[in-house]
C-alpha cells in the first residue's frame, strides 16, 4: 500500500516536472499530475504484481492516458497534447535506449540489437495504446450516432 502511494506521488511529481520543462500552462499542472500518476501506477501494478508482459503493461498505461486525456481535455478546454506529452515521460523506454548505446560501445552487438528492438517495440506499443483510446472513443461515438438515426 505504501509502495503504491509512493509510486503515485513520485510519478505525479515527475510528470509535473516534465510539464515545467515543456512550459505547460499553470492551470494544467494538477491535471497532468493526476493523469501521470494514475497511468504509471496502473503500469507498475500490472508489471510487478500481475506479472504481465511489459509491452502489454505499457499498452494499458498508454490507454489510460488516452482515455483520461480525452475526458479531461474536453472538461477543462485544453489541447490534448498538453496533457499527454508530460504524462508519457514516465513510460518511455529511456533505459533501453541507453543500454542500446552502452552495449554498442562494449562491442556486444547482439545485446545492443536486442535492446534497440525492445525500445522500438515499447515506443510503438505506447503509440498503439494512445491510438486505441482514440479508436475506442470514435467507435462509441459511432454507436451513439447510429442509434439516434434509427429512432
Amino acid at each position: 500500500m505504501v509502495a503504491i502511494l509512493l509510486n503515485l506521488l513520485l510519478s505525479g511529481a515527475s510528470a509535473i516536472g516534465f510539464s515545467l520543462i515543456t512550459n505547460a500552462p499553470h492551470r494544467a499542472a494538477g491535471i497532468i499530475g493526476i493523469t501521470g500518476g494514475l497511468s504509471w501506477t496502473i503500469f507498475w501494478i500490472l508489471k510487478n504484481w500481475v506479472h504481465v508482459n511489459i509491452l502489454f503493461a505499457n499498452f494499458v498505461g498508454a490507454l489510460t492516458i488516452g482515455l483520461l486525456t480525452y475526458y479531461l481535455s474536453r472538461k477543462f478546454k485544453l489541447p490534448e497534447n498538453i496533457i499527454y506529452i508530460p504524462c508519457l515521460v514516465n513510460l518511455v523506454p529511456g533505459g533501453n535506449a541507453y543500454r542500446t548505446i552502452l552495449y554498442m560501445v562494449q562491442n556486444k552487438y547482439i545485446e545492443s540489437l536486442e535492446q534497440a528492438i525492445t525500445t522500438f517495440l515499447i515506443a510503438s506499443f505506447l503509440a498503439v495504446g494512445l491510438f486505441s483510446a482514440q479508436y475506442l472513443i470514435s467507435l462509441v461515438k459511432g454507436i451513439i450516432y447510429f442509434r439516434k438515426i434509427k429512432r
Binding site: 509510486n7 513520485l10 510519478s11 511529481a13 515527475s14 509535473i16 516536472g17 516534465f18 510539464s19 515545467l20 520543462i21 515543456t22 512550459n23 505547460a24 500552462p25 494544467a28 504509471w40 507498475w44 478546454k77 485544453l78 489541447p79 490534448e80 497534447n81 498538453i82 506529452i85 508519457l88 515521460v89 514516465n90 518511455v92 523506454p93 529511456g94 533505459g95 535506449a97 541507453y98 542500446t100 548505446i101 552502452l102 554498442m104 560501445v105 515506443a123 510503438s124 505506447l126 503509440a127 494512445l130 491510438f131 482514440q134
Partner: protein
C-alpha cells in the same frame, strides 16, 4: 460580417502555423486550427503542413507558404493560440485584436515562461522517475536529482548560447556520464548505470518517438507521413547524440 482581405488572412494563417510548429503541435491539429480560424474570419482556407513548411490557400486564389523549423516543445504557446482561436470562433475576440496578438507573439517568439530554476527542479524530478523501476535505496534518488539538474542546466544554457543543433545534447550527455562515473569512483554509489539512465531522462526524445509514430496513424492514414518522418529522424538524431556523448565518456574513463 466584414471580410478581411485574402492577403491579410493568408499572412495571419501562415504566422499562426509557424508559431504552432515552433510550439511542437501535431500537424493535423495545426491544419484544423488554421482552417477553423479562416472559417471564423469568413474565408475558405485550405492548409497543408509538413513540419518544415506551411502551405496556405485562401478562397482558391491566394496561396502562400512559409519555411519553418522544428523547435522544442512549448505547450504554453499551443494553449495560448488554441484559446484565442476558440474565442475568435465564439466572437468573444474581434479579428483585429486576434491579428494583433498573433503579430505580437510572432515578433518576440516568446510566451510566458517558467524561470530557469523552476525548470531545473522539474528536470530533477523527471530524473527520479526511472529509479522507481529499479527500486533503488533512497540516496540514489538524491544523486539522480542532482546529476539530472546539472545535465539539464548545461543543455539549456548551451542551447541559448549557440543555435547549432545536437552539440549541446552531446556535451550534456558527456557531462552526465562523467559525473556518474565520478560518483562511483568516490564510492558513493555501487553502479553508475542507473544514475545515468535517470539523469538523461529529461533529455531523451522518448515522447518525440511516440509522437512521431502516433502522427503516422492518426486521423488520416499516412497523410502526415512527411512530418512524421521528419520528427522521427530528429528524435533519432537527438537520441544518438546523447548516446554518443555518454559513450565517449565511458570509453575515455
Amino acid at each position: 460580417m466584414k471580410k478581411t482581405s485574402t492577403q491579410r488572412v493568408s499572412e495571419l494563417c501562415l504566422k499562426t502555423g509557424y508559431l504552432l510548429i515552433s510550439g511542437g503541435a501535431e500537424s493535423y491539429r495545426i491544419e484544423d486550427t488554421i482552417e477553423r480560424i479562416g472559417k471564423s474570419l469568413g474565408h475558405e482556407v485550405h492548409c497543408y503542413v509538413t513540419v518544415t513548411a506551411v502551405f496556405v490557400e485562401v478562397d482558391g486564389q491566394n496561396s502562400k507558404f512559409i519555411k519553418s523549423t522544428l523547435g522544442g516543445t512549448n505547450l504554453q504557446m499551443i494553449d495560448d493560440i488554441n484559446t484565442m482561436s476558440r474565442q475568435l470562433a465564439e466572437k468573444k475576440l474581434s479579428p483585429k485584436t486576434f491579428t494583433e496578438e498573433i503579430e505580437k507573439i510572432y515578433l518576440d517568439k516568446h510566451t510566458t515562461d517558467f524561470p530557469f530554476y523552476v525548470k531545473a527542479i522539474g528536470a530533477g524530478f523527471v530524473s527520479m522517475a526511472p529509479m522507481l523501476i529499479f527500486t533503488m535505496p533512497l540516496y540514489y534518488f538524491i544523486y539522480c536529482f542532482i546529476v539530472g539538474t546539472i545535465g539539464y542546466g548545461i543543455s539549456y544554457y548551451l542551447a541559448k548560447l549557440s543555435s547549432m543543433p545536437y552539440a549541446d545534447l552531446f556535451i550534456s550527455g558527456f557531462v552526465i556520464a562523467l559525473l556518474s562515473i565520478l560518483l562511483s569512483r568516490l564510492n558513493l554509489v555501487e553502479q553508475y548505470h542507473s544514475i545515468i539512465i535517470g539523469a538523461i531522462m529529461p533529455l531523451v526524445p522518448g515522447v518525440a518517438i511516440t509522437n512521431a509514430i502516433r502522427e503516422l496513424v492518426m486521423r488520416h492514414a499516412l497523410r502526415h507521413a512527411l512530418s512524421s518522418a521528419v520528427k522521427l529522424l530528429d528524435a533519432l538524431l537527438v537520441a544518438s547524440s546523447i548516446g554518443f556523448g555518454i559513450a565517449t565518456a565511458l570509453i575515455l574513463f
